[in-house]
Each structure stands twice: as C-alpha cells, then as structure tokens.
Symmetry: C2
Subunit: 163 residues, 2 copies
DNA sequence: CAAAATAATATGCATTTGCAATTATAAATC
DNA sequence: GATTTATAATTGCAAATGCATATTATTTTG
C-alpha cells in the first residue's frame, strides 16, 4: 500500500494518482508540510537575531564541519550557491563567519564560523530543540531512531555528491 | 541517543549542541536536505510545464480535495497566503483552476481544479513518482509504512489547524 | 443592534531568490 | 606548453517572496 507502483500486478500497471494514494499517505507531501511548519516556526526566532534561513543553515553546518569551500557548504546547507554567496557576505560583515583563501587552490574560499557565530547559533539552538521536541512529542526513542535510519538511507538515495 | 535532551540524567542537563549530535543524526536537517533535493529535482520538470513549486503544490492538493477556500489551500499546500493568491491568479488565467464564490460566506473564494489543471498535473505526476521511487529505493514496504506512520504523528504534533 | 473584533483575500513594497553570465583559476587535452 | 575545458565564486537582473497593510465581509460583544 505504500509502494506506489507495482502494488497489485507484476509490471506496468497504470500508476495510481495522488488522489488514490491520499495526501496523508504520500511521504514527500507530509515531509514538505512538516518542514514548512518547522522552518516557519524557526524563522520567527531567527528574525529577532537578524538571521535568515540560509544564514542559519550555514552557521549550523559550520558549527559541525569547519573550513568548508562555499560550493560544498551550499550542498550541506541546502542553499543555492548564489544565495549562499550573498548570505556569507552578510555573515562575514557581521563577524559571524570568516573567509580564508584555500592554500592550494586559489579559486576556493573556505568558510569558518567565528566565536560570535557560535554565540549566535547558541542563542537559536534552544528554539531549534524546542521545535524538534514538539515535532517528536510522544514518539518513543526506538521509533525516532528507526525514523532517522530511514532518513539516512533516503539521503543516500537522493544525494548527488559524496558529502 | 535520539532523544535530544534528557539522555543521561533526570532534569535540566545542558542541552547537547548540534556538533555533538551530528548533522546526520538530526532529523530536521536530514528532512530539509532530502526535500531540498526532491523539490529541486521537480522544479526542473515543472519549468518545462510553466509551473512553479507553489502552483504545482496547489494543483496537487486540489486534485485530492476540491473547492477549497484560499486560506485553507495555503495551509495544505504549504505556501504563504499572499504567494498563493498570486499563484492562483496565474493558474486561473491559464485555465488550470476555477474560482467560485462561496455561497454562504461572500469573503471566501473556493478554488477548484479544472480538467486542464488535472491534465497538467498528470504530465508532472510520473516525474513525481520517479523521484519518489528513487528516494525510497531499496527501502522495504514495511519500513516505508512505518516511516509514513511516524510522519503522520509528526504532522499532528506540529499542525496548527484542524486540517 | 451598533461598535469592535475577527476573518478572507488582495496588494504595495522592499527584500530575497534563482538563473544566466562573468571573472578568475586550475586541469585536461592536443 | 598553448589551447580548450572544467570548476569556484561573484554579480546583474527579472521574477518571486514575505511582511505589513488595505479592503470587504462576518461574527462577537456590550
């Protein structure tokens, strides 16, 4: 019932339409809707800190993986490269990230989070956790774990880069 | 390990930072990244059909639930009300949706998908299924089902409306 | 039932976005 | 090793977005 094609017969059945599956059984719909709420909830908190979604995502990634080239950071942060370029401009001028030329490839600029950047993220982090906990309210630890395991497989399936 | 706070002790432990959890164990990060890819992949197909993400989402929802007030459609489609208002303008002038005044509340405009709208969505649907299948490649039916079940709980947790 | 509060939709406007083109550097090819 | 091709990052520009507000209609309240 959850394998969208091939449910009944062997090959080339007519693909069921969305109406037959139902919005609430279609994983991408549910994920978009949940993340839409998550991101909207956080945007409010970010505005107060002078951050935007792309800026926040860049900081979040950089808090985990440092000194990333911009192109790579764009993939991790799920932000268009040109959008990220401009976000980094602002983050740098606000002193939340630092730009260092790559020593071996002078095309590359490596981005690092600064102490001020970490402090900004730390201010936001409790809200992120709060929204996260609301999202997983009453969902037991094993179910959360299984969910994340499936997500990891999915990311592997759709990712176009090695990172 | 997946319950972000309260992992070790009873109350008010210091909240672990994102760096300690790791990006690939943080469900919202994974979900944003997967859906970023999903939406980017589809955007290419949509462009060829003269559609945008908000337009496509509106059509997808309307193919399942018809004659929705704009405000309600905005929630289902995960699109800002003002953005949706403008998207519907275009969809209507392209003949893909119809606007009908609500008979009992004259503030409300109810939106329905037209035959042409269904045809446009039908053209996109195979791509949506293809991206979906890629996403869940090698993930068995029971795991998909469990995943959707968790998503449904999550949506219930974060939703702010009855629908 | 008049006045105030709420709700649905549209719109003005500044900002953000994404795409395409540009610039600068590096790698590959002939 | 000069020329072509590929890659990293920025930027110009038109279109899209989100917020606040305007407008019209409905519901609530005193």
């Amino acid at each position: 019932m959850n394998d969208i094609k091939s449910a009944v017969s062997e090959k080339s059945e007519p693909i069921p339409r969305l109406g037959e599956i139902g919005l609430s059984n279609f994983a991408p719909y549910l994920m978009n809707r949940i993340m839409g709420r998550y991101n909207a909830d956080l945007r409010q908190e970010m505005t107060g800190l002078g951050l935007t979604t792309p800026k926040m995502r860049a900081l979040a990634v950089l808090s985990v993986i440092d000194a990333l080239p911009i192109t790579e950071l764009a993939v991790y942060a799920v932000v268009e490269q040109s959008t990220l370029s401009r976000s980094l401009e602002q983050l740098a001028s606000d002193g939340l990230v630092r730009r260092d030329p790559d020593p071996t490839d002078s095309r590359v600029t490596r981005i690092s989070i600064t102490e001020a950047g970490r402090a900004a993220l730390d201010q936001l982090w409790p809200s992120m956790v709060r929204v996260y906990e609301q999202m997983f309210k009453d969902i037991p630890a094993e179910e959360r774990q299984a969910f994340v395991t499936t997500l990891q497989k999915m990311l592997n399936n759709v990712r176009k880069h090695d990172f």
